[in-house]
Symmetry: C2
Subunit: 352 residues, 2 copies
DNA sequence: CTGAAAGCGCTAACAG
DNA sequence: CTGTTAGCGCTTTCAG
């Protein structure tokens, strides 16, 4: 197994100097067409690939940014990532992927581990000489994060604990608008008694349920709004629905904090022989694959994850280019859409 | 923004030579406790992080391997990846992630783009000085792959086109055993008339349907076995089921080539008022989140993706360590499990 | 447009 | 155990 060809080998074969060959691979305009061709031909022949490590080593300004995803398995982060990648491929920046290396399901049970993993992951990717960093779903404190990212421009995309929002650049969803969409849609169908099953009491889910309550209050429907505390699982939906069905004052619509919870809701409803949407309307959040099943056809809130990824990348690069160097942290809130399917409908005469 | 501290800075602060400091970060045993502590303290104070690029540059033997996943969004690849990552964290190898950067759904429509992307992605990751490569879901020809990976040990994990199997190290699922599990389970419930909805005529799906046919033949049930050509979508399941229900000789069980197809099957069945499993049994493949929904409770084949990832990593590292240097390519077939849920049951008296 | 020379941060002999 | 020395492959002045 002989070693890979180097720039030297290429230059030699092409009968030019090393530096000239280097210029060719930087697409520099100050190379004669003739030399360029000779170099490219030699490179082709040798199967030459520039050595990124050597490149990075030389220049402080590496034109590459790191992306730390909590869990590449989760479609949520994957879509964010595609936004970032798409934006990067329109630029001359390269992307390095870091992964905190645990399934988010497991991690949600163990925020402590997740936190240390994330810090580790950031340190790890820093060791590759990057110009900036994009992170998502951080569980760290502002101090820890600042320490780990020191001197490195950082943008957070996606769900963001509120304690990080004021100190860093953030691109997140406009949850208030999401609540507006949901409540507006339901009330337009005549629903008033609406129950929200939350994702828990953590910062993120709490924000979503507060937005719901606020929106209901705005419409003077506080009295008929209700929030049940759940968590990100089918079981939460299933159990909460059981609870809901027991009550004498049954709601006409259920708003689940995500689609998985909504799946639990639907399962319980089916078990009880209740029809959707005739007997009760159900609405989810994420517009995940679950919502898109023919079997469920779930009306759901769709975040613009791809766009958020793109914006995060752009925010970072404008910072890097110094166009916004010393400005205070920015917060971009992106408006989601509501994808209306058949799990929501008008309030039936009977339940009125 | 001052530049990051280097090993030199650390050594200076700790009042030792550069090389000694270097040894400390390599966990070398030949450093006195005293020096080690001094160095570590200095590093801590400066916030020093070893520069990976410089490290890589120095040693030909980088102790890191590249992983090229077609689509990090797809849970299938994600689980494979976790296996790889898990094995790597038990070793002293580092992992570099490459991503071909497209959603697999889109790519399935455009194999040509996918192919070139994969080659590009491999070249890309090669530029980082890696010792070996793990890939999944390749669409390239053996020649292209050999060219892209030349001199670099390579292991393929997961679905693998048969034309690649003989030439490279491969860790894949034992599809014949999967078929055995499915048919054995169904026949034990008395099913004989079984329809398989395939994922298409490509190499991968074709292998799965052939395995089904072979298994039925082995049990002398060829006459009552039937294969409908579908593709990896709900719609295929939905449409094929419509087809199936039209036929006079209705089967008692449907085996879908993956869970998504099974979702389409269930949707159609529900629409027609048919009960599962009382009227008809349904079985899927992947044990995906769809199968795990309370709403569907789908019996499904579960591949050991995590284990395949681990084995792929181990196969690669044993190659790297030269323990199996010149041997011919290896093929490891991993046996899947059948997760039995409530979408399958005994043949009803009526349909008998 | 081209070539010579210096050095990025680190590791790996090799002597003390 | 510790320090000296010499590059890894590439980019980047700076003179031709």
């Amino acid at each position: 197994m002989k070693r890979a060809p180097t720039l030297n080998d290429v230059a030699e074969l092409a009968k030019v100097s090393r530096s000239l060959a280097s210029l060719v691979f930087q697409d520099s305009p100050k190379v004669s067409d003739q030399s360029r061709k000779a170099v490219l031909k030699a490179a082709e022949k040798l199967g030459y690939q520039p050595n990124e490590s050597a490149r990075r080593l030389k220049s402080t300004h590496t034109k590459s940014i790191g992306v730390v995803l909590t869990d590449i398995h989760n479609p949520y982060y994957a879509y964010l990532f595609y936004g970032v990648e798409s934006a990067s491929s329109d630029s001359d920046y390269k992307i390095l992927i870091g992964n905190s290396g645990f399934l988010s399901d497991e991690l949600n049970q163990r925020p402590q581990i997740m936190k240390s993993r994330q810090i580790e992951s950031i340190k790890n990717i820093r060791s590759q000489m990057i110009d900036g960093l994009i992170c998502s779903s951080l569980r760290t404190t502002p101090d820890e994060l600042r320490a780990a990212s020191r001197n490195l421009p950082l943008v957070i995309i996606g769900h963001t604990p509120s304690n990080l929002i004021t100190d860093f650049d953030v691109v997140a969803t406009d949850e208030a608008f999401a609540a507006y969409l949901v409540v507006d849609h339901l009330t337009s169908y005549g629903h008033k008694k609406i129950v929200h099953i939350s994702g828990g009491t953590d910062d993120g889910p709490a924000y979503r349920s507060k937005a719901f309550v606020a929106e209901m209050r705005k419409r003077k429907l506080s009295a008929s709004a209700r929030v049940l505390e759940g968590h990100w699982s089918q079981e939460a939906g299933y159990d909460c629905t059981e609870e809901i069905l027991k009550s004498t004052d049954r709601p006409t619509a259920i708003y689940a904090a995500n689609d998985l919870i909504a799946m639990g809701v639907l399962a319980k409803l089916k078990e009880q022989g209740l029809r959707v949407p005739e007997d009760i309307s159900v609405i989810g959040y994420d517009d995940s694959q679950f919502a898109q099943l023919h079997l469920t056809n779930l009306t759901s809130v769709k975040e613009s994850l791809f766009e958020m990824g793109r914006l995060g990348f752009e925010l970072l690069t404008t910072r890097l280019e110094g166009k916004r160097g010393t400005n205070s942290p920015q917060l971009l809130r992106i408006k989601p859409d509501l994808i209306v399917r058949t799990s929501t409908g008008p309030v039936s005469k009977k339940s009125k």
